[in-house]
């Protein structure tokens, strides 16, 4: 079997990470009514894939399979789970916490920088520090995701140059580090 369901520890690591962003919506991700989707581990990468696609992929040898469905992230050597930018498609529709950037702050974020207070146009109410947020443009285009650097209540008090969202991944990564992207298992 080239693809195995992840072990219990691994499952917990992945779900913990996803739950930071999705909260109670995590259940929706895995109990989709249209086509059943599953998480599969392949070469330390976790892929979110429909069962239909998974069946077709079972023909392919492990060392020949580069990707299937959507890559959510990768286990590090220390067995920690890191989300990859490719997970944005999985996170964005279900995310609980959201931040909308002013147009002037978009490019800075896309170059991998953290989000400063001055760049935030809109934000979801009531987030705690360290919550996962998906970063959007004012037009609603998801650009990446990160963690809140401080609880939402303190954002008002923050200085314009204070970091409020820590950049974990942004779509600029498609250009910056295509070669080191974890999405391709080969």
């Amino acid at each position: 079997m080239s693809l195995r369901p992840s072990s219990e520890d691994e499952t917990r690591a992945v779900f913990d990470k996803l739950a930071k962003f999705l909260g109670v919506h995590l259940k929706l991700l895995l109990s989709r009514t249209d086509i059943p989707h599953v998480l599969r581990l392949h070469r330390e990468r976790v892929y979110y894939v429909s069962e239909l696609v998974l069946r077709k992929a079972s023909n392919i040898a492990r060392e020949r399979l580069a990707s299937l469905g959507t890559c959510v992230g990768k286990f590090t050597h220390a067995r920690k789970f890191h989300l990859a930018i490719t997970a944005l498609d999985v996170l964005a529709p279900y995310a609980v916490g959201k931040v909308w950037l002013k147009p002037s702050a978009e490019m800075s974020f896309l170059y991998g920088n953290h989000v400063l207070k001055a760049g935030v146009g809109k934000v979801t109410e009531g987030m705690a520090g360290g919550d996962g947020v998906v970063v959007h443009t004012m037009g609603g285009l998801p650009l990446g995701f990160g963690l809140t650097a401080r609880p939402g209540a303190e954002w008002r008090k923050a200085a314009p140059t204070d970091i409020v969202v820590l950049n974990q991944a942004d779509v600029g990564g498609y250009l910056r580090d295509e070669a080191s992207s974890p999405a391709s298992a080969l």
């Binding site: 429909s50 239909l52 399979l65 580069a66 990707s67 998801p142 250009l175 391709s184």
Partner: protein, 661 residues
């Protein structure tokens, strides 16, 4: 340059007396981007359309490929009037008329282009009037136009706008008349050139030996003139040829001059001369010197074309819809790199050549199908297929080059494709993996790239005949593998699309013809909006007539990359050989039954020992007699009949193939 630019602005104000024009330039922190050189568009792809009023400029082009120069060329060609030469005999009748039509159309398009250019100048002038009158807002290109003009007129800025306008008008009419004079002179020269040209073919200095290499004129203009001269002789060979010179002499001279002018290998040039007869080869090579317009494809999984166009225009780009596609946009100019906008990174569009939309349009995948793409990287067509399927079904993509998988996977994720599997196999091993299990298969085969010389000029000098032959072998193997992966019994599909970015017949029609012999497929109409029909004959080869259903896209005709698309429908999962073997077996079985029936009935010498085989009437009689005699089951006779008929059809088919072989 740093800073706010205020100081520089002040400086400009002091110099020019007007603070209007340089402001944008200074605010941008440097000189504005030079206007892109636009390809003079020709033909029906619709990419020629240029948005008016945005002041696209073509004025500053080199003499070698100005539209005017090209117009003159084409006019020359038109003057030859498609004279029937001997080599024309290579062409099918309809093909011939088609090509003639092309030739006839060419000059008109070019002149249309000329007038279009004037129009654009006009419109840009029109735009400038309110601007110089003090209108504040203007697009970047407008500002630039006025910038140039300002630099001309800044010496006397106390002129009234109307005076300025009048002066400009006068200047333009003067320029136009000068152009017209030059054109006339050019034409006259062309007319005169025919006589002296004969001398030049005899060798500028020496005789026959002087024709090669050393005898060639040194400048590009002279070389082009020589090419035109040779072409004009070939246009009406019997009347214009020099006594004692054969057609082959002229052809050799033409080939050598083309090679010297454009830098092709002689073998490649010779092949191109076969494919593009006479004047066409010149237009082809000239078209390959210039880039194609930049196009992008909207990712319909994420955004609509109108929204994307609005977003890009908001970023200052000048884009327009491509009329024959629902998802393509053509980019005339853009102040920002379109490969790094937030929209690009968010997967709203893919930068891809307009020609690469064709295979997917021909494939026409349906939702919920299983689709295979054999050579998928870097994923332009893959993501297009997924978008057409709206992320349903399964899209198996494969590429044999490991280093190209990264970009393929990245593009798949960036554009939000969720139904794909990416594998890394040699495409030829895929049938062993999947069997005939796909509804549709897309094979964009690796090729010599003779259609995209403008992207990669090294093709001119690096592709030998051996390379092309080796490519053709690989392509044949890949196409058979692709066909083997396709399921003929698919309710919605059973379609294979084969495409290359080559113009070589060996890599295109010959490959498809080979597949027709080896597999039970037929070439069907690709359902594309335009394109030149594929060849059914080329030199000594004769292909199946259905190859006229394939489509070629040509740089000098459609202003697209050179491209070939063939759409095949799989008829049966058996190969023609298997079908024939089955039929033979059935015939033998029938023979045996007949013999047994004869023995049992023990009568009627009607077809005694002399029945050969496979005659339908015979069969019927036989069936009747056997039924009458001992009531052999209906199904059996019916079955054998059916098989006989498939046999017959198979034979028909193979006859057709052999004809083509």
């Amino acid at each position: 340059m740093g800073g706010t630019g205020r100081a520089r602005r002040k400086q400009r104000v002091k110099e020019h007396g007007t603070g209007l024009e340089p402001v944008a330039q200074l605010q941008a922190g440097g000189p504005p981007p030079k206007p892109k050189r636009f390809v003079p568009p020709q033909g029906a792809s619709g990419l020629k359309r240029r948005r008016r009023g945005r002041g696209a400029k073509v004025r500053d082009e080199g003499p070698a490929d100005t539209p005017a120069g090209r117009g003159a060329t084409a006019g020359d060609d038109g003057g030859d009037g498609g004279g029937g030469g001997g080599s024309e005999g290579e062409w099918g009748e309809d093909m011939k008329t088609k090509r003639k039509k092309l030739m006839a159309v060419q000059p008109r398009i070019d002149f249309g282009e000329d007038s279009g250019e004037d129009d654009s100048n006009d419109s840009s002038d029109d735009d400038e009037v309110p601007f110089e009158g003090g209108g504040g807002e203007a697009s970047a290109s407008d500002e630039e136009d006025s910038g140039e003009d300002d630099s001309n007129v800044s010496s006397d800025d106390d002129e009234l706008p109307i005076e300025r306008e009048a002066r400009r008008l006068a200047a333009r009419t003067a320029k136009e008349s000068a152009d017209a004079d030059a054109e006339l002179a050019d034409a006259a020269q062309d007319g005169e050139e025919e006589a002296p040209f004969r001398l030049s073919l005899r060798g500028t200095g020496g005789d026959a030996d002087g024709e090669l290499g050393g005898g060639l004129p040194p400048t590009r203009e002279a070389q082009l003139a020589r090419i035109r001269g040779i072409l004009s002789v070939l246009g009406d060979f019997s009347a214009r040829r020099e006594a004692g010179k054969r057609r082959s002499d002229y052809m050799d001279a033409l080939r050598d001059t083309l090679c010297a002018t454009f830098g092709y290998l002689p073998s490649l040039a010779a092949k191109l001369m076969d494919i593009f007869p006479k004047e066409e080869v010149l237009s082809f090579m000239e078209a390959q010197e210039a880039p194609r317009p930049m196009t992008l494809r909207t990712n319909s999984l994420r955004v609509r074309r109108r929204e994307l166009a609005a977003a890009l225009i908001a970023r200052g780009a000048n884009v327009d819809a491509v009329p024959w596609s629902k998802v393509a946009l053509v980019v005339y100019e853009s102040p920002v790199p379109l490969g790094a906008t937030p929209e690009y990174l968010a997967g709203h569009y893919m930068l891809q050549a307009a020609s690469s939309l064709m295979p997917v349009m021909a494939l026409a995948p349906q939702e919920k199908e299983h689709v295979l793409e054999v050579a998928a990287a870097p994923g332009g067509k893959t993501t297009h297929v997924a978008a057409v399927m709206r992320n349903t079904g399964v899209l198996v993509t494969n590429d044999a080059k490991r280093e190209r998988l990264k970009s393929l996977v990245a593009n798949i994720h960036r554009l939000g494709v969720k139904n794909s599997v990416v594998s890394h196999y040699d495409g030829r091993s895929l049938p062993a993996l999947y069997g005939p299990s796909f509804d549709r298969v897309l094979l964009d085969a690796p090729c010599s790239g003779t259609g995209i010389i403008c992207h990669d000029p090294s093709v001119k000098t690096s592709r030998t005949d051996a390379d092309i032959a080796a490519n053709a072998v690989l392509q044949k193997e890949l196409l058979l593998a692709a066909i083997d992966c396709c399921n003929a019994g698919s309710r919605s599909g059973g379609v294979i699309v084969y495409s290359t970015c080559s113009v070589m017949v060996e890599e295109n029609e010959a490959v498809v013809a080979y597949a027709l012999r080896k597999r039970a497929v037929k070439v069907v109409d690709a359902g594309l909006p335009f394109g030149v029909p594929g060849f059914t004959r080329m030199r000594e080869s004769r292909f199946h007539p259905s190859l006229a259903n394939t489509r070629r896209f040509l740089p000098h005709v459609h202003n697209l990359d050179g491209f070939f698309v063939a759409k095949l429908r799989k008829v049966s999962n058996d190969t023609p050989a298997e079908v024939a073997a089955k039929a033979r077996k059935a015939a033998k079985a029938k023979e045996r039954r007949r013999a047994v029936a004869d023995e049992i009935s023990d009568a009627s010498t009607e077809d005694g020992g002399s029945h050969d085989d496979d005659d339908d009437d015979d069969d019927d009689d036989d069936a009747d007699s056997s039924e009458a005699a001992e009531g052999v089951t209906d199904e059996e006779s019916g079955g054998s009949d059916a098989e006989a008929s498939t046999d017959a059809s198979g034979e028909d088919g193979s006859d057709g193939m052999e004809e083509s072989a």
